[in-house]
Amino acid sequence: MASLKELRARIGSIKSTRKITSAMKMVAAAKLRRAQASAEAARPYAEAMRRMLAELAGAATGEEGGPRLLAGTGRDQVHLLIPITSDRGLCGGFNANVHRLTQQTIRRLQSEGKTVKLLPVGRRALNYFSREYSNLIIDKVIGVSGKTVPFSAASSLGDKINALLEAGEIDVCTLVFNRFRNAMTQVPACQQLVPLVMDDTAVKSSASDTAGDVAQYEFEPDEATLLAMLLPKNLQVQIYASLLETAAGENGARMTAMDNATRNAGRSIDSLSKVYNRTRQTNITNELIEIISGAQAV
């Protein structure tokens, strides 16, 4: 049985932990709202971009030797994986889920005899993968999550991927990140960036659009030039969207994790207080018994 002093110290320390976790929960909730708002504000651009791309790709198909971003290099040997995590921990299984999915993917690709390269985004992913796969890491991006995500972060990452692709160093590029479903649930998912997977729904909706207005689109300059400009932009937009989802998901996950931690702290304070009170009572009883039996002996 722990002494009263020890119990008091433990209760005190859990109380201050609870204060910290509940403050972190509040902060995460406030940040989540902001992150969600910016994720929503970025959606119209991505949608308009998808619509234009579907239109253009439809017009430009059939041409041989399309841009690499759309068609890939024609090979399937070197895979670039981009795990996107937060810079800071204390957000439950949020980062671990991405790590696990990435690791599974790496193992699967390697067992198929493919070469895997890594470009971790976020300090957590960098630390995790530099332990086991440090020889696969070709580049890194840190310091983008947490604060408001600037578009320049996504565009520089997009340019990097594009440069690697043009140099023929990678054939396929895939993002691994947490899809934001709601504040409680984030689902880790892979999204292939290169070669571009055309969204079926987008293509269909644009097809029905064009059926409505019969006239064909004119392009200025020609389709190929426009496509060559639009594709890198689309890459950036997709990366930007995933960065925003990660930012929102991180705060959502942290909010949930901290809520649980606060509740657990409360529970252990309760049980420790019970032990403390009982110990105190036992001590008093013992003292009384000693006094009484002493008095009786006289």
């Binding site: 119209p44 651009y45 239109e55 578009f151 006239a215 064909q216 200025e220 300059p221 426009l226």
Partner: protein, 135 residues
């Protein structure tokens, strides 16, 4: 009959309303979107997008390059960067221009694609300064 114009930057939607005419800086020359215009997709250079209502300019926005998607009833402008002309910071733009000019001087003159990119950026920033100072 009005046309619906949307100016969208990656971060947010700047404008979404109905106007009579939109004049925008196409890569191959300025172009106006009016109702019943043939559907068209074009590349934009850095410059000013003007919204017209009743034959007068009601709003001017600076866009730093991007794309436009025109149909008979709407005009969607996807700008890399967009802001109202009244909010342009000339100091910022001048600093950018200096940085770009330096990059131009250092750049490998045989790398045409890099030079092209730099040139487009320099032209866009010059257009920004011009738009900001004419305001």
């Amino acid at each position: 009959m009005p046309i619906k114009v949307e100016i969208i930057s990656p971060e947010k939607v700047l404008v979404s309303r109905e106007v009579d005419m939109v004049v925008m800086p196409g890569a191959e020359g300025d172009i106006a979107a009016m109702p019943e215009h043939a559907p068209m997709m074009l590349l934009l250079r850095g410059g000013v997008v003007s919204l017209y209502e009743n034959d007068a300019v009601t709003d001017r926005f600076f866009v730093g390059g991007g794309f436009a998607d025109m149909t008979a009833t709407r005009c969607t402008i996807l700008a890399d960067k967009a802001e109202p002309v009244s909010e342009i910071s000339i100091d910022n733009a001048t600093a950018q221009l200096e940085a770009l000019t330096e990059a131009w001087d250092k750049a490998d003159k045989s790398d045409m694609s890099r030079l092209d990119v730099l040139q487009d950026k320099i032209l866009a920033v010059r257009a920004e300064i011009e738009a900001g100072s004419s305001h």
